[in-house]
């Protein structure tokens, strides 16, 4: 099968959906013909679809999302880009109080088919305002879906599902994933929400990971298999809301051991939710305490040795797995 990058896969999804449905349009800062997006995801799309449908905006995150909400409830399918995930904070009222709640508050009258694409994650030394993983903020808001693709295949398929759906989706991308290559079929496909993917099958320990941590978990699993003879199953939920609880629990039933890995701070984070869910619904299948690998409760520091200290790496994952077997 042909291989393309995560960035190209996202662009393909946008292009195909814009060709398919004239209601789909893009808006965001520097996404148009002059820059093509800070991470070049939308490069070339303004040339094909025009400046009306690939719309450069002022630096006004709150209005970017507010305008997208207004367009969504009146028949359009906006895909808004927030240049860095950290900047969703500027639009939080529009995301959490408006996009997420209009349908409910209005008794089901509104549909909010809105996708908010934004890159999260560290590893590129751009410090506390450009490196966070904030998926958990959005998991805490009923009415939002949260997609976390880790591969080009998932990125394309999930983005198409997000665009075709009728609910607001926080589409979490990761800066380190954009250049990663993977197999993506030429033919049409989508990836459903709420269906996890087993990225590596194993028998001894379940590792649940998302976004870039999936790749670290896979490398850790490789090392553990070779050097320690430990068989790790890597489960990638692909969407955090809805969460495929069944797939995680089924894996835990098989292995009896769970390590949850996420690139966000530990307190009230992604790992906390998944660990609590398994503790509540499947504790009888566990043969060891659940281990969480997450960031310490600090902002993301700038200097490379400092940043490496806080973002979970393969060693941290290996250590956690060894502690539970």
């Amino acid at each position: 099968m042909r291989k393309i990058t995560y960035r190209e896969a996202l662009r393909e999804a946008l292009r195909e959906e814009m060709r398919r449905d004239p209601a789909v349009f893009l808006l965001g800062e520097d996404i148009g013909r002059y820059w093509g997006g800070a991470f070049k995801v939308t490069e070339g799309l303004a040339e094909e679809f025009g400046d009306e449908r690939v719309r450069d905006t002022p630096i006004s995150e709150s209005a970017i999302i507010g305008v997208a909400v207004g367009a969504a409830i009146t028949g359009m399918r906006p895909v808004a880009e927030i240049m860095f995930g950290d900047l969703t904070a500027l639009a939080m009222d529009q995301i959490a109080n408006q996009a997420a709640k209009l349908r409910y508050m209005f008794g089901g009258q509104a549909k909010v088919p809105l996708v908010i694409r934004t890159p999260f994650g560290g590893g590129v030394n751009i410090a506390a305002h450009h490196s966070q993983c904030l998926e958990a903020w959005f998991m805490h808001v009923p009415g939002l879906y949260v997609a976390v693709p880790s591969t080009p295949y998932d990125a394309k398929g999930l983005l198409k599902t997000a665009i075709r759906g009728n609910n607001p989706v926080i589409f979490c991308e990761h800066k380190l994933l954009y250049p990663i290559e993977g197999e993506v079929p030429e033919e049409e496909y989508t990836v459903p929400f709420g269906v996890a993917d087993i990225k590596r099958e194993g028998e001894d320990v379940t590792v649940v990971a998302t976004l870039y941590m999936v790749h670290r978990a896979l490398r850790a699993a490789e090392v553990l298999a070779k050097e320690k003879g430990i068989s790790v199953e890597v489960v990638d939920p692909r969407t955090l809301t809805p969460l495929d609880k069944k797939a995680i629990i089924n894996s835990v039933k098989k292995t009896g051991r769970l390590v949850v890995v996420s690139e966000d701070c530990k307190t009230a984070g992604v790992t906390a939710e998944i660990a609590a869910m398994v503790a509540e619904e499947a504790i009888d299948y566990l043969d060891a305490p659940i281990k969480r690998v997450a960031e310490p409760d600090t902002p993301i520091p700038f200097s490379p040795p400092l940043e490496r200290r806080v973002i979970p790496d393969e060693k941290a994952i290996i250590r956690a797995v060894e502690e539970v077997v």
């Binding site: 002022p58 006004s60 305008v67 207004g70 367009a71 409830i73 009146t74 408006q98 209005f106």
Partner: protein, 323 residues
């Protein structure tokens, strides 16, 4: 003032009826609240009727509006059914939002009422977005966005109006300046005399209208709507008005000087319009009384409908989170 055009008799009569409908509706809500029949809080529109009616009378049914926590008047003026508005305020299943929204979140998408948001200023970019949708869909609808003087100090005011201006979106930004953001007087939080002055920062027209004169508001809105439909972009209309009651149900509004309140009560928009209609020979005293009685009966019917309607079943709290 000079009007571009005096609306036809039928329209004037309808405008008067709607203003009375809002007034009597709000007085009834207050009465029900006093009897402890309204859960939560209420923000009454009493005194500001000329704004909602003046604006919505200049719009088409397929035009949109966005609204605020003080939104009952906007709903009624855009053509929502008072029965279902009242039912929503009482938390009943037959309300527009099935009891999930209440007084601060009423919407009726069937008449283009895109809903009330209770976060001050949040509706401004949403209205701009509806305007962008109109532009992309290439229809000739317009959006009227209601907000208060308080909202004009939010960042969303700047971001939303700027975006609508740069893209020439068909939006009419209607600032209902009732002089107080809760208990905070405009002069405490704004160096400019009028919110309309701020329009110059976005390169769009800023118009001050007498918000207690329904025909002045109607006229300003017609001009703004015409401009918007021609693709010439948004207008900011500031309607100077006054709320007859406090900010919300707990507020006796003691921060307002007595003379100020009396001066504004003397300029009651309904009283003024009634006088105008008599002066123009549009209606007689008898006809006016007849309309008042009919509207009162309609409100009574709405109350009865709302009171007799069932509450939603508790399990319905779990519905409508996702589409």
């Amino acid at each position: 003032m000079t009007l571009t055009a005096v609306p036809p008799r039928e329209k004037l009569v309808e405008m008067y009826g709607t203003m009375v409908k809002i007034r009597l509706f709000e007085e009834k809500v207050f009465e029900l609240y006093a009897q402890n029949l309204v859960p939560g809080t209420i923000h009454l529109y009493t005194g500001q009727e000329a704004v909602a009616v003046g604006v919505c009378s200049a719009l088409r049914r397929d035009d949109y509006i966005t609204s605020t926590h003080r939104g009952h008047g906007h709903c009624i003026a855009k053509g929502a059914d008072v029965k279902r508005v009242m039912a929503e305020i009482l938390g009943k299943r037959t309300g527009y939002c099935k009891g999930k929204g209440g007084s601060m979140h009423i919407a009726d998408f069937s008449v283009g009422m895109l809903g009330a948001t209770a976060v001050v200023g949040a509706g401004i970019p949403i209205a701009a977005g509806a305007g962008l949708s109109i532009k992309l869909r290439k229809t000739d609808q317009v959006v009227a966005c209601f907000f208060g003087d308080g909202a004009s100090n939010q960042g969303t005011f700047h971001e939303g109006i700027n975006m609508a201006a740069i893209w020439s979106l068909p939006v009419i930004f209607v600032c209902e300046n009732n002089l107080y953001a809760m208990g905070t007087r405009q002069s405490m939080v704004m160096r400019v005399e009028s919110v309309a002055e701020r329009a110059s920062a976005y390169g769009i027209p800023g118009v001050v209208a007498d918000g207690n004169d329904v025909l002045a508001v109607y006229d300003a809105t017609l001009k703004a709507a015409e401009r918007a439909r021609k693709g010439e972009g948004p207008t900011l209309i500031e309607c100077k008005t006054y709320r007859h009651r406090g900010h919300s149900r707990v507020d006796p509004a003691k921060y307002r000087p007595k003379e100020e309140v009396e001066a504004w009560l003397a300029r009651d928009p309904i009283k003024r319009f009634r006088e105008k209609l008599l002066e123009l020979n549009v209606l007689t005293e008898v006809e006016i009384q007849q309309i008042d009685r009919e509207v009162a009966a309609e409100i009574e019917e709405a109350v009865q409908y709302a009171m007799e309607s069932p509450y939603p079943a508790p399990e319905e709290a779990l519905e409508d989170v996702y589409a």
